[in-house]
């Protein structure tokens, strides 16, 4: 904030699709298999083999593109992107060049200054999303003695969806918010598991800065594409670092450190050192000598097909947030937090809220008790011991308790695996049944006829004397229940 320049970032996100098999052959698409155990003549790039497109990969891509609000091209084809590298046995990557299957979408992301406290939507436009194949994996000898590199081709030919955003992102935080929304959406839709550690989500950031001039024009610094970003946090750090570096270089040489005078460069992010390292000047697109892939035929997508995929897609996170807010009266923030927990948690919430007829109470108890408990217990919701019905009973049955008592009851239910009443007893909260409390109220009234008479005579405060007596004799009794019973009995008196 307050910097005399604007940061401009576009993100290229690659996600691996959740198919059983590779994009063009029936080899397994699975992380962690023994090296070179999932290859065949097609993905090894043997002469005379023919790729055949995986229908599931195309459908998942279509689903993702629709969720990104993209236009779906009626006609799409694949192209060869030619380059030489040991992990690319065909010497070209089958990708999409001029006719990607989708283009011109957008995604709404939360750019609230404190995303843990509020929800401020911002639209990031999507240039295109296209379907391509992944390359294999190279492991380099890091002894410094120049030993051979090792190549594993299991990943070669697995399906990748590339999502390219417009340079609409203006802060490191916005970049992270965008990635979080992409990840949430693609996970919810079953498109990708988006695990950055396993490489099923990868991100490159195109960064430069715009420096306003006194005459109203803007100087843009040369574009840098940052690679090797292995966590959302490193994406944010790399953008901050690069923007500062650009500002310094521009200050030193404002005439030459400009986009029109320099080629785009590629830089790697060195996470331990917290710096970017320039790798090379980017080859112009023509150097990849793209040409149409003759071994694959084009795909024509009908409007019906698009509508079929759209219908099967289910509720998107953005739609879900709106629905949760209106249907259950949640704040935008609560709806955002709940949605970010994923569909199983939303289903759990909806059951609890339905039983309680109180969405706000359900959401509050989820966030102050269940979310932290899942973290502490390192549990997924599916392993969580309390069913929605049991949790709803807990929320209803502890509504009148002080926060700390409620927390202890909850902990006892989880740790000891006991019922609500047993947990209350364990924590030392007496279980009061209503008829016993009513008898106590009646007894207190009988013992204090003067207060009853005062109340009848219009002194509301007299009621408090009776209430205090009941509460004193029945420590821990639910105040709201006792009040109700007292009101009822006084009305009868």
């Amino acid at each position: 904030m307050g910097e005399p320049y604007k940061i401009v970032v576009g993100l290229e996100v690659h996600v691996q699709l959740l198919t059983k098999t590779k994009l063009f052959c029936g080899c397994l698409n699975q992380f962690g298999l023994p090296p070179n155990s999932a290859t065949c003549p097609v993905c090894l790039g043997m002469p005379g083999t023919l790729p055949v497109m995986n229908r599931k990969a195309f459908e998942l891509s279509l689903r993702a593109a629709l969720a990104l609000n993209c236009q779906i091209a009626g006609f799409t084809k694949w192209d060869r992107k030619n380059y030489y590298y040991p992990d690319l046995p065909k010497n070209f990557q089958t990708s999409q060049y001029d006719l990607p299957f989708s283009h011109d979408g957008f995604l709404e992301v939360n750019v609230h200054p404190d995303p843990k406290k509020g929800f401020t939507p911002k639209t990031v436009r999507i240039i295109r999303a296209h379907l391509e194949e992944d390359a294999g994996k190279s492991m380099h000898d890091d002894s410094g003695r120049g030993g051979d590199s090792k190549v594993d081709l299991n990943r070669t030919g697995t399906p990748l969806l590339e999502i390219v955003s417009h340079p609409d992102i203006e802060t490191p935080e916005e970049a992270i918010a965008y990635l979080e929304e992409v990840r949430l959406m693609l996970r919810e839709l079953g498109v990708s598991d988006c695990e950055m550690q396993e490489g099923s989500l990868r991100c490159d950031a195109n960064v430069n800065i715009h420096v306003p001039q006194s005459d109203g024009s803007v100087h843009a610094t040369p574009l840098v594409e940052i690679k090797n970003l292995n966590s959302f946090r490193s994406v944010g750090r790399a953008i901050s670092y690069e923007a500062k570096r650009h500002a310094e270089e521009y200050a030193r040489d404002p005439e030459n450190f400009r986009i029109e005078h320099r080629l785009k460069t590629t830089a790697g992010w060195d996470d331990p050192k917290g710096v970017t390292v320039v790798q090379r000047h980017k080859e112009a697109a023509a150097d990849y000598r793209y040409f149409p892939e003759p071994d694959l035929v084009p795909v024509i997508v009908s409007k019906d097909e698009v509508e079929r995929v759209r219908a099967a897609m289910g509720e998107l996170p953005s739609q879900q947030r709106t629905r949760l807010a209106t249907q259950y009266g949640l704040t935008a923030y609560d709806a955002e937090v709940l949605t970010a927990k994923g569909r199983p948690m939303v289903a759990y919430f909806e059951e609890v809220a339905g039983i309680l007829k109180d969405g706000k109470a359900a959401a509050n108890r989820l966030s102050d008790l269940v979310y932290p408990a899942l973290t502490d217990r390192r549990e997924e919701l599916a392993e969580f011991p309390l069913t929605p019905a049991a949790f709803a009973a807990f929320v209803g049955g502890t509504a009148a308790l002080p926060k700390q008592d409620r927390g202890e009851v909850f902990k006892a239910m989880l740790d000891k695996g006991v019922t609500l009443d047993a947990a209350k007893a364990l924590v030392g909260i007496q279980v009061f049944d209503e008829s016993a409390l009513r008898t106590a109220v009646q007894a207190a009234m009988a013992a204090n006829p003067r207060a009853v008479a005062d109340f009848k005579g219009g002194k509301d405060a007299a009621k408090m004397a009776i209430l205090g007596g009941v509460m004193k004799a029945n420590k821990g009794a639910p105040n709201d229940v006792v009040r109700r019973l007292l009101d009822e009995e006084l009305a009868k008196a």
Binding site: A38, T39, K150, Q279, V297
Partner: protein, 102 residues
């Protein structure tokens, strides 16, 4: 369209081919003859002709997402000039101009 020597040198580099200067001259001439030949296409009037993405009158050829057996590791590596255990062994890449990832 006519290729200069520099163009041929660049294409050779992109294709990872080492070509002597003498061969470069020969190849430039040969490549230019091929381009001239293909240039004949420019004489055809293509007004109103839709661009063709593929010569086959086919579209939407898919296969189901069903696994098929892969090669054994031994078979996969059988043609490799160099191995490192179950990996292909390749000479280390030193040239910093090399593409790192795409």
């Amino acid at each position: 369209m006519s290729l200069e020597l520099a163009d041929v040198r660049k294409v050779a580099k992109l294709s990872r081919l080492e070509v002597s200067d003498a061969d470069l001259t020969t190849m430039a001439a040969q490549l230019n003859r091929i381009l001239d030949y293909v240039d004949a296409l420019q004489e055809v009037n293509t007004d109103g002709v839709e661009p063709l993405a593929h010569p086959l009158p086919l579209q939407n050829v898919f296969r189901d997402d069903v696994p098929t057996p892969s090669l054994s590791v031994a078979e996969a590596l059988a043609n490799a000039p160099s191995r490192q255990g179950s990996h292909f062994g390749v000479p280390a890449v030193f040239d910093s101009d090399e593409p790192v990832s795409h």
